[in-house]
Point group: C2
Chain length 476, copies 2
């Protein structure tokens, strides 16, 4: 069995912890690991790392590689989409790639950012699903509804599937019903939530895509031959320029709408796996550890008389007094304070901020880079102060700037710097000036982390002022 | 008439905007000016700047000078207490100093951090008070109670004062009554709040102190001769070392307890002046400008569906959703989120933080200095990044450090640096290294501000590691 993890989420509902560049699946929302790390780890007892594939946006590809490195998922099994095209395209792409390996294999599809609190039962259900999938069914997992949720898809089960003790035929799908309908489904019984986990044979899903979405099917056939390894550093698979054009022309549609709602061979297995899609901040009250008053707090919080509240911060001190069912999410450059019952509206608020072109929607102060990360300490007219964290063995691109010079103070580790035609070693407590226009490159050739405080100065200090002459990570 | 502004507040209830080093009177709580600036400005139509005196803690003296400079209050009229000894000592000290000028003059006493929204009536009441004071009374202003407040002192008025149309004898004072008693006072009528504004002749109050607090009276006589001008830079008055010792031995007691409650010649003038002591964050709902939904918001706030809330930030983006009567106060290193009805408990919370030795109780990231200010951008093991803002014409002390070296990048203006036996000019976009142990001094001799990004590195990077050889501001 192959596992395909769909890691394409944008996670606006977890702003300000999530940003366009660091969506929910890449964050530690519950526990010490990121959501995608939890997802991979959950599969390993059933699916070896060598059989796990991932589909993500190219923006998040290197960070996804970083995070899954320790689980030994081969980087070449990460497929980077140039643009998000919803689940039909992502699943179709993965199926095309798997077809080359084994068209009769079962592929199981998983969202990268959900929580399953009963992994044992989850594995059991997947094993059952595999058997049904092998018979040519599109298998869905059905979660017993606990509230008249309007944001999910509902599955109406039909008769028990012949020859199976656990699966049912599917009578119909209903995507995002209104409140009255959702309540009726719960009252009537026989409905379950579609949790986005699917099992099917590679050949089955490709046939069904061909039947119900011939346009996608045709284009996918061409696209598969346009996937190429990214570069020697990471080796995840991207599309070449022809492939990118093709991918951009794919229809934007979910697999649910495109195939499951139409197919005649869908089955559902009721799954008691303590699932949550962790859809917004208030979900933490269900999936995270609470104190005696039902609060979910991080370590930096001092509180008096709070209950039912979620208070999540980083380094800054947070003092909370008398909060009842309030969500506080604190990050270095943006703060959210929200009534628990309106957690869904954070999405709407982020859209407002997007319209105002607020930079806090895209990036946090710390930005992950293939070579490490940078953190903005202060930005003001005429200058910018950053901390650069360069991982051992990595180096930035060979570059120059037209508008700024840079002042580097090494506060930890040793920097090896190419500066025009010289190579310079800069040790801890030493300084180097990088003049405007000079070709330079920063590397960490030591086994210890390299930390530099950089002061950029010039008439323009922004990320766009960079000319790259060579880059280990194939960035333009 | 002389004005004496008591600026000794510690302002824990306005944490985290107020800190031990920057109490409420030095902050912009309402409007574009600080509380003490508003207080001085409010007096000017009645009392010329040359007649205004201030008493403050030595810690806050230079900043108080800075803030009142533009109103032309002579710095020599700022009296710096080495230690806070409550209002009897502060008023006694001021009276002793004024006695030398004119023992028959009326002195009016004002808290530095209250709001008066009807300054016209306020001036009228003060003029009336002056006349009563000249007759030898201790005059208090009485504010009509609007709620059974337990935190204030209450004045029970007696008969109308003979020969006056506005003033009454005082039957008794009651300090901080319990809720039942406070409600009874309101129901009974004839009670008003003591707002801490007093008028009396210098000779009257000194006599009364002599009668009711002979110990204070005697020591004050010695202390007055121990006030000395601080230095050529600021010229506010401090106590010499003998005076400091004497001051430290003064009884810690309020003028209300020590004198007003006991004196036979107290009068009260009912004052309709729209007064507020702005005692805690929730008071902003009374004194600050509100939006259509009753919120008091700063510019950096984006909100959806909030009402009756106070959201105060600085540069960081704050997004608020669905808050009802919630207080949010955001600063670079500490965040407060508090139920409006529990604003008084912030004091208790700050005490908890004090017990834990949290640095956020004492200082914010920006610390005012006589020469300008510094702002901590990042502090981690082994290094500290600061922005130094050096005002035009100012210079830091001649100093050295035993544990750290410093890396200075000038991002605005020009620095003149003494480094051991050399003088060095460091211009914008230039760098200077200050080695460990070296004697150095930083000055801004230009007319423009000087801004430096400083990286301190060493086995110990804190404010204590400083040896001062000379200082323009007489700091040890």
């Amino acid at each position: 069995m192959f596992g395909v993890i769909l890691a394409g989420g944008s996670g606006t509902r977890f702003w300000p912890k999530s940003r366009e560049q660091s969506p929910k699946q890449l964050l530690k929302i519950v526990g010490p690991r990121t959501m995608i790390q939890n997802t991979v780890e959950r599969l390993l007892p059933l699916i070896p790392a060598s059989n796990i594939f991932m589909v993500t946006h190219a923006l998040h590809a290197f960070e996804t590689c970083h995070q899954t490195e320790s689980f030994k998922v081969p980087p070449s099994q990460l497929l980077a989409e140039p643009v998000g095209k919803n689940t039909a395209a992502a699943i179709g792409l993965a199926a095309k790639v798997l077809q080359e390996k084994d068209p009769n294999a079962v592929m199981a599809v998983f969202p990268a950012d959900h929580v399953v609190k009963d992994p044992k039962n989850f594995h059991e259900v997947l094993r059952q699903g595999e058997k049904i999938a092998e018979k040519g069914f599109l298998v869905t997992l059905g979660i017993q509804p606990t509230r008249p949720e309007q944001g999910y898809g509902y599955i109406k089960q039909g008769q028990a599937l012949k020859g199976s003790e656990c699966a049912y035929e599917v009578e119909r799908f209903v995507e995002k019903p209104d409140a009255t309908t959702a309540q009726k489904f719960i009252d009537d019984g026989g409905y379950s939530w579609n949790c986005g986990v699917f099992l099917w044979k590679v050949s089955t899903i490709l046939e069904e895509i061909q039947t119900h979405l011939p346009d996608l099917s045709e284009k996918l056939s061409s696209i598969a031959s346009h996937t190429v390894a990214n570069n020697r550093k990471y080796g995840y698979r991207i599309l070449d320029s022809e492939g990118e054009k093709l991918y951009d022309s794919l229809p934007f549609i979910s697999i649910d709408h495109a195939v499951l709602e139409k197919s005649k061979r869908v089955a559902v297995i009721p799954a008691k796996i303590q699932w949550s899609d962790v859809g917004a901040w208030d979900a933490l009250l269900d999936v995270a550890e609470k104190d005696g008053n039902g609060n979910v707090l991080t370590e930096n919080v001092t509180e008096l008389d709070c209950s039912g509240s979620i208070i999540q911060g980083e380094d800054r001190l947070i003092a909370a007094v008398g909060l009842k069912e309030i969500i506080v999410v604190d990050t270095p450059d943006a703060l959210l304070v929200c009534n628990k019952n309106q957690a869904q509206e954070v999405k709407q608020l982020v859209n407002q901020l997007k319209e105002k072109n607020r930079p806090e929607v895209k990036l946090g102060v710390t930005v992950q880079k293939p070579w490490g990360s940078y953190t903005v300490l202060e930005k003001r007219d005429g200058y910018l102060v950053k901390r650069l964290d360069v991982n051992s063995g990595e180096r930035l691109s060979l570059q120059s700037h037209n508008h700024r010079s840079e002042h580097w103070t090494v506060v930890s580790g040793t920097a090896t710097v190419d500066l025009d035609d010289k190579q310079i070693t800069v040790k801890e407590n030493e300084f180097l000036f990088i003049p405007q226009f000079s070709k330079h490159r920063l590397a960490n050739q030591q086994n210890t982390p390299l930390i530099i405080i950089e002061v950029q100065m010039g008439d323009k200090v922004d990320e766009d002022d960079i000319i790259r002459y060579q880059d280990d990570y194939d960035r333009n």
